[in-house]
């Protein structure tokens, strides 16, 4: 005896289609318009614009701001499995002028759908990253920073959808299910022509349930047809403009420029940064010059596939200050070269 009476599928579908056909007929002008519109849109063959988060990705990887460090550091990476990827990292950093000595243990696990990354330092602070790809276009991300001190915790939930010629992203930072306080960000980027993409990002800040602040920033991205140069502009609410330009000069040389202008009523300021990156066979060299008088350079030299040496320095001419950093990266594996699927060169772990 069945608790749920089940209709036989063929009869139900046939009655359904006959009952619904007048509705379909009535809707046909709309559906045909929609079909024509989507056909016309796919005929345009607009490229995917990337995401707003990755708007300045090329510039950031060319400039050395995210790579430079001072003091000494050592990273010991151990690859335990290649597919699925499983890696543990022990990193030590000491003698920095700005930060105290620290030890960090990190672990990464990744397969086709899931990416998990975690790090814990000697004080017990944990950072987490979790990405889950539902399909090629849908990714849900979670990021968290957890420490034993109250007020230093951050959790961010994010969903990213990439369409054929657009990208939608929604984020919630420290959302509270009780009173809906927190920061919520939504962004949309759309390709308008083969070269131009426009978008916006709206941020809604609710520090308390009574207070809501909404700010919108606007984004434009211009890409050359052969993708050899990219220009972006980002306009934020209280008069902040950030413009960047990146160009690949040859297979090995990339240059990038960045201009940040603040023209608020209380503060007027501008900083320009010029940088270049050389990718050589066994090394990467980055050099950078900015309008605050800082000159910096960073060399990453790989002596063997498992051993890399990094040296970087920065001189601040206006403040008469300097800093220097040296580091080693040692990579080992418990796998034989055949198990690792050689000849894949080991990737250096990237530390922002």
């Amino acid at each position: 005896m069945s608790a749920f009476p089940v209709q036989s599928p063929p009869s139900s579908s046939s009655t359904k289609s006959s009952a619904w056909s007048p509705f379909y007929a009535a809707l046909s002008p709309f559906t045909s318009t929609y079909n024509r519109f989507s056909q016309w849109r796919s005929d345009l063959a607009l490229p995917s614009p990337g995401s707003i988060e990755n708007l300045q990705k090329e510039v950031k990887s060319t400039h050395l701001t995210n790579f430079i460090f001072d003091g000494a550091r050592a990273d010991l990476t151990k690859t335990l499995s290649a597919n699925p990827a499983f890696q543990v990292t022990h990193s030590f950093s000491l003698a920095s002028q700005t930060a105290p000595s620290s030890y960090n243990f990190g672990a990464v696990f990744a397969n086709e759908q899931v990416f998990m990354q975690g790090g814990v330092d000697h004080e017990g602070s944990v950072n987490c990253r979790f990405n889950r790809g539902w399909s090629a276009n849908n990714v849900t991300k979670m990021q968290a920073q957890l420490s034993s001190q109250a007020g230093h915790n951050m959790i961010q939930l994010e969903h990213d959808y990439t369409g054929r010629d657009y990208n939608i992203n929604a984020k919630a930072i420290n959302p509270s299910p009780a009173d809906f306080s927190g920061i919520y960000v939504g962004s949309y980027l759309q390709s308008l022509t083969r070269n131009l993409a426009l978008g916006f990002e709206t941020m809604c800040q609710r520090p308390t349930p009574e207070m809501t602040e909404i700010a919108t920033s606007y984004v434009a991205k211009l890409t050359s047809t052969d993708k050899s140069w990219i220009a972006t502009a980002l306009l934020q609410q209280p008069g902040i403009l950030q413009a960047t330009y990146w160009q690949k000069l040859s297979e090995k040389v990339e240059v990038a420029a960045d201009l940040q202008v603040i023209a608020a009523s209380t503060r007027r300021d501008a900083v320009a940064t010029l940088g270049a990156k050389w990718d050589l066979r066994m090394s990467t060299f980055r050099a950078q010059l900015d309008s605050t008088g800082k000159v910096s350079a960073l060399l990453e030299q790989r002596f063997a596939p498992t051993f890399a040496f990094i040296i970087g320095g920065e001189i601040d001419h206006f403040k008469n200050a300097a800093k220097i950093g040296v580091g080693v990266m040692i990579e080992s594996s418990t796998l034989t070269p055949e198990e690792m699927g050689m000849p894949v060169p080991p990737q250096p772990p990237s530390y922002p």
Partner: protein, 51 residues
Amino acid sequence: MPSEETKESLIKVVEVGRTILHYGWIPLIIYVGYTRSTPQPSLIKLISPLA
């Protein structure tokens, strides 16, 4: 709008979840990585920086 008790229990649940994530995230990655890797590594190689 939820009542005060619901709010308090929600906040408590979030706090417990946060603590579980804080202490359980690294062990979880190591467990998942250790059980899914091919070939399975030995535990000492997993933890020690020198082995």
